[in-house]
Every structure is written in C-alpha cells, then in structure tokens.
Subunit: 148 residues, 2 copies
Amino acid sequence: MSKPSQEKPMIDQNGVSVIQTQAHASGLQQVPQLVPVSPGRGGKAMPPSKAKKCTPEKDSEEYRQRRERNNLAVKKSRMKSKQKAQDTQQRVNELKEENERLEAKIKLLSKELSVLKDLFLEHAHNLADNVHPQNTDTTTMGQNTNAQ
Amino acid sequence: MSKPSQEKPMIDQNGVSVIQTQAHASGLQQVPQLVPVSPGRGGKAMPPSKAKKCTPEKDSEEYRQRRERNNLAVKKSRMKSKQKAQDTQQRVNELKEENERLEAKIKLLSKELSVLKDLFLEHAHNLADNVHPQNTDTTTMGQNTNAQ
DNA sequence: CTAGATTGCGCAATCA
DNA sequence: CTGATTGCGCAATCTA
C-alpha cells in the first residue's frame, strides 16, 4: 500500500484483443487470451534467437509446480487481505467505543467544572456581602453549596 | 506453507474433480474441466427425477450471455467491496482524529478543574484562618503580634 | 534471473 | 430465474 507508482498496463477492453476460438465441443472451455494490441515498440534488446519465452510450453511438470506455488501464494495473500479488512473493521469498533468513553468523560468534567464555577461565584457574592453587610446573616446564607 | 491442501486432482466441495488436459499451443488456455468424481461407482446419489443439469452444454450463446452478466456482477461486487474497505480505513483515520481532539479537550478541562480546585482549597484555608486565627499564617502574622 | 506477493479477471457454486 | 457473493485458478506484474 501507499505505493502510487506504477501504472498497470491493464489493457482490458482498451488495448487488447480477446481471441475466442470455438474448439471445445465436449467440455473443454478456454479462456480468452489477452494479446497486446501494439507490439510494435522500439524493438531493442531482444535478440531474434529468443523471441519471448523460452518455455511457453507449460504442459510440463515444472509448470504445474509453479502454478501450485502461485495458487498457494494467492490464497495466502487473500487470507491476509481479508484478515486485514477484519482487523480494520474491529479497529473502527474499538475506536468508536473509545470515543464514547471520552465523550462521557468530557461530559462529566464539564459538569464538575460547572459546579465548581457556580460555587466560586457564590463565594464571591458571599465575600461581597461580607464586605458590605446588609442585614443579612452570613450563617444562614451560604447553605445551598452542595456538590455531587 | 500453512495450508496442506489439495494435490493434483483437487476435489471440489461438491464431488467434482478437476481434470486437466494440455492443448493450448498457440495461446489458448483451458480451464479445468469439471467431471463427476464417481465414474463407475455404485451410483446412488441422485434421484432419477433430475440428474443434475439438463443443460451442461453451454457453448451456446445463452451461456456466454449468462457468463458475461455474471462477470459484470462480479466486477461490480468487487468494486463495491474494495470501496467499502477504503471507506472503513478512512473511518479509522477520522475516528483517530476525533479521538485526539477529545483527549485534548479532556486534558484542557482537567487542567481547568485542577486550577479551580486549588483556588477553592486556598479560599477554604483562608476562611478557616479567619475563623480560627492561629498565628501561624504568614499573611495574618504581621497584623496581631507585630505591634510592639 | 528466481521466487513469493499482488492484482485483475473469468468461471462455477451458492446465496438471496 | 436473476443478480450478488465467494472461493479458486490463471497470468501479468511487482517486489526482494
């Protein structure tokens, strides 16, 4: 991931010809072969001795071995991919939970803060009343200061 | 190498073995052919009502149509799947950001709360000193016993 | 160049 | 029956 580098040829339906032959009457199916539509590149570095693949004949045993290995690798890779997706999904759930916890905490802290501020204001008023006593008794006054 | 799986004639989960032939000299590949796995056994699997597929010979046009539709559906489904995975990943990122925000807020609120509490304690002490003067407070010390 | 890892795609079975 | 999912194999690439 995070490798925005190469552009895949992916000449599907764009620069590729799908060849189909009909020669499988009894049950053999063939998959369309992809043929590059423009092989005419700057033909360099390819000696005529070997056109492309020295071993296109893959009916042999090594071919099967390679296929089997690749199939295995494919399976592995896909399992890994799925696992990662699951992990990501689980991460989302965990983060959501964490978020709720944090929000609850914020709510609690906010409430505490509010209470304290109110208390503060009250004390300030009490002090002001102490400075300017006006027929009000201080002992009977500040009684509604209850915290949680 | 963590999957001890099939060897050459891998049996599908339905009772079908995959047989391979070689005939693709110029570029045609063939897909494994499905053949019933019980060739000459005591056939006791299916009721005589319906063998299995009345139309296994699908070299025709309807077959190709169905295949094409299915291929389209497959593509669609996979795109959707990938999209969902991406969305999930992005959700993780968003939730992580949100989490950081919330934690910062909690930190701030905690700090505010701490300050207020300290102020409160200080006032409480001052009040206590006012009620019970004890000569030990530095602020009140220079008031009473320094008039000599 | 060799070998594993990814990726796009087609096929078939199964699900809904 | 039809579209959507899913597992699997193949081949082209990428990566080490």
